[in-house]
């Protein structure tokens, strides 16, 4: 079964600073990859998804961008963070005909 690695687990960044969150997947190839953001104790909002290297779809307009430089690597970035970018960011993957998503352990981002 696949495993997702996300880092860092927590991050405190000043407003206006850049951001780079990385997600890597093990145990599978050619996965669909997703970035979600979650408000405290609430549901997940889909930010970006990717079906292959270099292919990114954005779900909501925002201050963030995503890239997929390798098959099992997904990166979430920002050039200048806003206070509203604070939240819990989750990477997920889906493979083949499996219905379920596998999630990473998340990154808690606080913009100060």
């Amino acid at each position: 079964s696949q495993t997702i690695h996300q880092w860092p687990a927590t991050l405190v960044q000043p407003v206006g600073s850049p951001l780079s969150l990385e997600c890597t997947v093990e145990g599978t190839s050619n996965p669909n990859l997703y970035w979600y953001r979650q408000a405290a104790g609430r549901g997940l909002q889909l930010l970006f998804y990717s079906v292959g290297i270099g292919q990114i779809s954005s779900e909501v307009p925002q201050n963030l961008s995503a890239s997929r430089p390798q098959d099992r690597q997904f990166i979430l970035s920002s050039k200048k963070l806003l206070l509203s970018d604070s939240g819990f960011y989750l990477c997920a993957c889906k493979t083949g005909s499996n219905y379920g998503y596998t999630f990473g352990s998340g990154t808690r981002l606080t913009v100060v």
Partner: protein, 114 residues
């Protein structure tokens, strides 16, 4: 617009009690999943239901998909403190080949007191 509404939003019960969590929508889903999430962790898949009227059991947890595939319920029998967590339902509206699949509900925060 929230496509999947979960109720209740918060639930606090004593160990040994039974409970039911609901996930409702006006949309039809091809499949529906339930996840449990603990603080500081990602959601973990509990079950997937794909057929209208389907019932699945996972130990003390019983999941049901509505006949019209618009709603689902999760029933926990004799709740234990280890059941504490955020329960999320998620619906898929297209075939498994589609990348943009899941819509998540707003979540139910369950606390089981010893």
């Amino acid at each position: 617009t929230q496509l999947l509404e979960q109720s209740p939003q918060f639930l606090s019960i004593q160990e040994g009690e039974n409970l039911t969590v609901y996930c409702n929508s006006s949309s039809v889903f091809s499949s529906l999943q339930w996840y449990r999430q603990e603080p500081g962790e990602g959601p973990v898949l509990l079950v997937t239901v794909v057929t209208g009227g389907e019932v699945k059991k996972l130990k003390r947890l019983t999941f049901q998909f509505g006949d019209a595939r618009k709603d689902s319920s999760l029933h926990i029998t004799a709740a234990q403190p280890g059941d504490t967590g955020l329960y999320l339902c998620a619906g898929a509206k297209s075939s498994s080949g589609s990348a943009r699949q899941l819509t998540f509900g707003s979540g139910t925060q369950l606390t089981v007191l010893p």
